[in-house]
């Protein structure tokens, strides 16, 4: 169990780093879906191997929401957006370096925490990996130059927290997981509403144009 969860968490982290490196919009949405599929598999694997049938249901809902519903909304939002999330001429080298540094930071913070459960949790090795994904998602979110980039970052962050819940606690209670899925869906739909209006008003999703409110 330790091997398979570590491997899946590592693949998910690799997908996250690729997402930082990847420039085109469609590519980013695809990588978000890849990350979601891997995390769904991770949840299903933990559910099956640790004998938590509820986690299999959660994994199924997770896959439906993250690889079908949300990408559909994201594509609708991206229709008509500039194809590259980074300005032409700016390379993705530095963000990828930062992502690498964040993995180190995640290990520094989380290793003492996950070490507490070495005997208890076969999935303990994946805790810093999930936390690293969360930090990278947060980084993508705060450095996003347009609304789409920030939303992607938020979704990656949110996925990573789900993974953290799976590997550190074998999944949160069902009522809470249900609430989280519902709210992520509502957030994305609200974002779509805001983005549609933003495009009508500013003819762009560039957040640099949002500067009416100062101080």
């Amino acid at each position: 169990m330790t091997t398979i969860t570590n491997l899946l968490a590592f693949f998910a982290l690799a997908a996250t780093v690729l997402l930082v490196w990847r420039q085109s919009w469609r590519g980013r949405v695809r990588l978000f879906m890849v990350q979601s599929v891997i995390l769904g598999a991770l949840a299903a694997a933990v559910g099956a191997l640790a004998g938590r049938p509820a986690l299999l249901v959660v994994a199924a809902v997770f896959l439906t929401v993250k690889t079908w519903l949300i990408p559909r909304v994201l594509r609708r939002m991206a229709a008509g957006a500039p194809l590259r999330p980074v300005r032409p001429g700016r390379s993705a080298g530095i963000p990828v370096l930062v992502a690498g540094a964040l993995v180190v930071v995640a290990y520094v913070i989380m290793l003492p925490i996950s070490a507490l459960s070495v005997a208890a949790l076969p999935t303990h090795g994946a805790i810093p990996l999930a936390f690293a994904m969360a930090l990278i998602g947060l980084f993508v979110c705060v450095t996003g130059r347009d609304a789409l980039g920030q939303v992607t970052g938020f979704l990656v962050f949110e996925n990573a927290i789900f993974a953290l819940g799976v590997v550190a606690t074998y999944g949160m209670p069902g009522l809470v997981e249900a609430g989280v899925f519902l709210e992520v869906l509502v957030i994305v739909l609200l974002m779509e509403g805001v983005v549609v209006q933003m495009r009508r008003e500013h003819d762009s999703l560039d957040v640099d144009r949002l500067q009416e409110l100062r101080g």
């Binding site: 209670p173 009522l175 409110l213």
Partner: protein, 478 residues
């Protein structure tokens, strides 16, 4: 009773799909009155020490929850009186359901025992209010709504990391198999287990929880969404956000504090809360000297008062926590009144710019006087209740050997006071332009009653208040 309290706003939010025009206003009025009445009954029971629970313990109201419910329903009732005027200007079909949905999520957040469900409810408050912030659909309100949605969603997601870590700490308590205690995310369970949980995990969890719920509470440096959202939202929504939404964020932090303290000792949480409280005061004091817009000025004043509440919780002890709780109630009512009056001022003058408003006392005698009194209350002057609660908070600071922090906070408070005074002076006096007052005198009655109540809590406490405050404090400080 708790189910009824939560059911009324939820049912009302659904009913607006059917009700149009006058019918919608009637549903709004009935639901608001019903929520107020049931809320006050629940509060009265809870602050007498009668804990109530429902739905197998998922909903649980103790004295602290009762205190918060009381503040929420009173502020919501004030906002509800003014709501129809704003709803008619835009689209009542959006305004009313979201208003009651927001009320539902606020009440759920303070009346559940499950910290996971509390998280869901706090996130729900953001989702219900995004379209209310963007109600006027201007460029500025769109920007405010976008920042509000993104910053609060990220913030609250950070709080979820903290919640996961708490659950993790609860699971790895015994080395061996991972087995959660039954209902391991219940606050009562966590509090009982507190001393057995790993201090290291809890400290890390608390950092995430403070950053996350602190974003919602408007503690600096996570306050950046607050002035935009508060200044762009329609006045009743600003009143609800500033008066109770921020306090619900503080309430969430307050619930986790005793759990962390039981395991890691009080010094850790105290340092964080005092630090953030002082920073909030400093940010607000700096801004209040140069506000361009009076709704933003009021929003920064909220940052200041939330900073004071944070300080009170950080100083701790019975005095600090009860001062903070009393301050939550006083500030909620005072800020709601002032935001609602600011709505009248905006309707009369047609601007939110500070430079556009002069001679308020002569132009709108009733509104102007109310605003003047409200601002005096927010400055923390006697005889208003905020003076009493501020004195309690600072006394706690000196008693708990935090004299330096208390002194620094006092200094910042004086700076903020000066800024607010300068801005209010410019608005209130001077030549008055000919503007027509808006609103009917009937809507002035609840606001006048609220201001009178603020004076009352400053001069002499009504019977039962001291006992209620003590019981609510004892939930946190044992």
């Amino acid at each position: 009773m708790i189910v009824l309290l939560l059911g009324i706003p939820l049912l009302a939010a659904g009913l607006f799909a059917l009700a149009r025009g006058r019918a919608a206003t009637i549903v709004h009025a009935v639901a608001s009155l019903g929520t107020l009445a049931v809320g006050l009954v629940v509060t009265t029971g809870a602050v007498r020490g009668l804990d109530a629970s429902a739905l197998g313990g998922v909903l649980r109201v103790d004295a602290l929850s009762g205190w918060m419910i009381g503040v929420i329903v009173v502020v919501a009732a004030l906002a509800a009186v003014e709501a129809p005027g704003y709803a008619r200007e835009g689209s009542p079909r959006i305004f009313y359901p979201l208003f009651h949905l927001m009320l539902f999520t606020l009440l759920l957040a303070v009346s559940t025992d499950d910290v996971g469900l509390m998280w869901v409810a706090v996130e729900g408050t953001t989702l219900a209010s995004v379209f209310l912030v963007n109600f006027e659909r201007t460029r500025a309100s769109l920007e405010a709504a976008y920042k509000y949605l993104l910053i609060c969603s990220v913030g609250i997601a950070i709080a979820f990391v903290g919640t996961v870590l708490i659950y993790y700490a609860e699971a790895v308590r015994q080395q061996g198999v991972v087995e959660h205690a039954s209902q391991g995310l219940r606050w009562t369970t966590l509090l009982a287990l507190g001393p057995m949980l790993s201090p290291r995990v809890l400290q890390l969890a608390f950092v995430f929880l403070v950053v996350g719920y602190g974003t919602k509470a408007g503690l600096a440096p996570m306050h950046t969404w607050l002035p935009d959202a508060h200044s762009e939202a329609p006045a009743p929504v600003s009143a609800l956000m500033s008066g109770v939404l921020l306090s619900v964020g503080v309430y969430a932090i307050l619930r986790f504090k005793p759990i962390v303290d039981a395991s890691a000792g009080p010094v850790f949480t105290r340092r964080i809360l005092i630090g953030l409280g002082l920073l909030s005061l400093a940010v607000a004091a700096a801004f209040l000297w140069n506000p361009g817009n009076y709704k933003r000025m009021l929003a920064y004043s909220s940052v200041e008062h939330i900073g004071l509440v944070g300080l009170g919780l950080g100083f701790g002890g019975t005095l600090g926590v009860s001062g903070a709780l009393l301050h939550i109630a006083n500030h909620g009512v005072a800020k709601a009144v002032v935001f609602l009056l600011a709505g009248h001022i905006r309707a009369a003058y047609g601007t939110v710019e500070l430079s556009g408003v002069r001679g308020l006392l002569r132009a709108l005698p009733l509104t102007g006087r109310g605003f003047f009194l409200g601002v005096l209350a927010l400055m923390g002057l006697p005889p208003f209740g905020l003076f009493t609660s501020e004195v309690m908070i600072f006394a706690a600071g000196f008693r708990e050997d935090q004299a330096w922090a208390a002194a620094a906070a006092l200094l910042l408070l004086v700076v903020a006071f000066g800024g607010l005074l300068r801005a209010a002076h410019a608005m209130l006096f001077g030549p008055s332009p000919g503007v027509a007052p808006s609103g009917r005198w009937l809507t002035a009655v609840p606001l006048a009653v609220a201001l009178a109540a603020l004076v009352l809590t400053g001069l002499a406490w009504p019977p039962g208040l001291a006992a209620a405050l003590e019981l609510a404090t004892r939930v946190i400080v044992r």
